[in-house]
């Protein structure tokens, strides 16, 4: 009888330790973020976790504003995040209790996939970057593969410099990603036979030569994986669909 009671106690403890109260903070209203949030909720419920608004053991943060808010607080619980373009900008790779999944693949990986897919020879890649983004871009763009070409207001300023290169990579720089600027840049590249590619999935509509496609289903699964497990890596790579 005593053995049975001990077994039940241990079993109950095991079950309660596995199931966690999870808070989800989504600071983005963009469709992919909402889709991932819904999917994460579904998987968490399936795994027996409770979605709560307060007193949570794990907090899932979607979007940069949610991260900025969270960094202002000092809390001991585990934070799992995604949809943060530049986690290194906030030093999240060093922050205790922060685990995340990248929302765009590292440029080097995208470059490798481009070479492999289009059977291209390896050459240096030009990356137009606005002045204000240079410091961040340097973190992600290794010098041996990428050449940062800075501009002030419009990428049109550096169109001449781009002609020296064969490949152009579009970095998630807000100035480059302005509708007018990207259309200009793509047109220029097409007119001058430059291969233009990016890791941002939804740029495929602009007729780029190569774009990595994000696997949002896998992204949601990896966020749940980080909720349930302690990962050796602080930031998991962006899951991309294999072509």
């Amino acid at each position: 009888m005593v053995k049975l009671a001990i077994f039940l106690l241990v079993f109950a403890f095991e079950v309660s330790s596995h199931a966690a109260d999870v808070c989800i903070v989504n600071s983005y209203s963009i469709p992919p973020a909402r889709r991932v949030e819904t999917r994460v909720q579904e998987i968490l419920k399936k795994h027996g976790h409770r979605i709560v608004n307060r007193n949570c053991r794990v907090k899932i943060l979607i979007g940069t504003p949610a991260i900025v808010e969270e960094l202002k607080k000092s809390s001991a619980y585990k934070k799992v995040y995604s949809f943060v373009l530049f986690p290194e900008k906030f030093g999240l790779e060093k922050e205790k209790n922060f685990y995340g999944v990248r929302v765009f693949p590292l440029p080097e990986k995208t470059y490798k996939r481009l070479i492999r897919k289009l059977y291209l020879e390896k050459k240096k890649v030009a990356v137009p970057i606005s002045d204000s983004m240079i410091s961040i871009a340097k973190i992600y763009l290794p010098e041996d593969t990428f050449s940062i070409i800075p501009f002030n207001n419009s990428p049109m300023e550096i169109f001449g410099s781009l002609l020296k290169y064969k490949y152009v990579y579009i970095f998630p720089d807000p100035k480059i990603l302005k509708l007018v600027n990207i259309t200009n840049l793509v047109n220029f590249c097409k007119d001058n036979n430059l291969i233009i590619f990016s890791g941002l999935g939804d740029l495929s509509k602009f007729d780029l030569d190569y774009v990595d496609k994000i696997d949002y289903e896998k992204l949601a699964e990896e966020l749940v994986f980080l909720v349930e497990n302690d990962s050796g890596k602080r930031i998991l790579p962006c899951p991309c669909k294999e072509e």
């Binding site: 963009i30 469709p31 992919p32 373009l85 207001n153 302005k178 007018v180 600027n181």
Partner: protein
């Protein structure tokens, strides 16, 4: 006449209510549309302007080009008095005197700048090629409109609206009035017809207004009573036709009217036993001769009464001749019929007619199936009974012969 006036008043009231409703709704819709023009239309025009000018500024971020474009737009649109770009860092307006004057507190709302000018603030967002970067508000595009121009347009709109409404209203009234006149002509004809009808009724001394329900009831009662009386008289006539008034027995007509037509066919079908008896008062001629016909009638009357009282309802007594009575007994045997005849004799003998002796009768009986083989031949039975009556008379009277 009263209903006609009431109808007329109702028509006029409906017409007035209709006109008022139409005017109210037209007024509301005109003003509402004017306000829609002012708010929605101006804000939509301003949004298109903002988009276009923003695009130009992004494509060619040259401040002289921007100024020139703004100047062209302001000059090309008569209702536009000025344009401004406002953001955190700078204010950019054409004409310059607008700088510092416009303040955007509410988006897409019309605000008063001066007596002559109104302005509308359209928020400008930074548009990105990717969803990963959320739209960021850059500032405001402000369109300053000339109040006079707007009011001119609004007034023109209201005036046009009123004119169209009035046109529809007047056309509607004309149509209603023409219909009403037509209807009125018909009503007048109807009224004339009614008055003529009334005067005709008066002329034939039938005042339709004085004709009361009570009189109809009385007439109906009278008709009912008369019908009842006629029916009774009819029954009485029928009864008289088949009844002998002296004895109260059936007469020979009854044989023709009922016995031959209904009774004999029934007898033939059912083949039930039947006895016929002919009763004849003995020495009746001497009673008449000695005591007169009055005594004779008295005897016959009493004889009839006794017969009626003695026999059953199903038996049929018929005065067959002067002092002869035929009785049809639908009974099984002649013996049973004889019992009834004997009872009649007993009763008759008891009667004192003041003639110094009792009155008796003789009878002859015949029956089916004892005397005839098949039913239906009543005449044969009567004939046999008559022969037996004769035999009874011959044998000394006051007796009954059954075979």
């Amino acid at each position: 006449m009263k209903s006609f006036r009431r109808l007329l008043a109702l028509q006029v009231a409906i017409l007035i209510v209709g006109i008022l409703t139409f005017i109210t709704f037209s007024g509301i819709s005109i003003l509402k549309l004017a306000s829609i023009y002012e708010k929605k239309h101006l804000s939509q025009i301003s949004t298109i302007l903002a988009k276009n000018i923003k695009l130009i500024t992004e494509l060619y971020p040259n401040k002289y080009l921007i100024k020139e474009t703004m100047k062209k737009v302001v000059n090309e649109i008569p209702a536009l008095d000025g344009i401004c770009f406002l953001n955190e860092s700078k204010e950019f307006c054409y004409p310059k005197h607008l700088i510092g004057k416009v303040r955007c507190k509410k988006e897409y709302e019309i605000a008063q700048l001066s007596e002559d000018n109104i302005y509308i603030c359209i928020p400008i967002y930074e548009e990105y090629a990717t969803q990963f970067l959320e739209k960021k508000k850059e500032g405001y595009f402000v369109a300053v409109f000339n109040n006079k121009h707007i009011n001119q347009f609004k007034n023109f709109w209201i005036l046009t609206g009123i004119l169209i409404s009035m046109f529809f209203l007047i056309t509607g009234i004309l149509v209603i009035v023409s219909i009403w006149i037509d209807v009125n002509v018909d009503f007048n004809k109807l009224r004339k017809f009614i008055s003529e009808l009334k005067s005709n009724i008066k002329q034939s001394d039938m005042n339709i207004n004085d004709f009361k329900v009570e009189e109809i009831r009385r007439t109906a009662e009278l008709i009912l009573k008369l019908t009842e009386k006629i029916s009774k008289l009819n029954d009485r006539i029928k009864k008289l036709a088949i009844t002998d008034p002296l004895t109260g027995l059936f007469n020979r007509n009854y044989i023709n009217m009922f016995i031959k037509t209904s009774y004999i066919p029934l007898w033939k079908r059912r083949k039930f036993p039947l006895t016929v008896a002919i009763l004849d008062i003995d020495n009746f001629k001497s009673i008449n001769d000695i005591y007169g016909h009055m005594k004779g009638d008295e005897v016959l009357k009493k004889f009839g009464q006794i017969i009626r009282k003695t026999i059953r309802n199903s038996d049929i007594p018929i005065r067959f001749g002067g002092e002869e009575v035929l009785i049809i007994f639908p009974s099984p045997t002649k013996e049973q019929a004889l019992t009834a005849i004997k009872r009649i004799r007993e009763q008759l003998i008891k009667e004192n007619f003041g003639i110094g002796r009792p009155v008796t009768f003789s009878s002859g009986l015949s029956g089916f199936p004892s005397d005839i083989d098949s039913p239906g031949d009543l005449e044969k039975l009567i004939e046999i009974a008559d022969q037996r009556l004769y035999k009874a008379k011959k044998l000394g009277k006051n007796r009954d012969i059954i075979d």
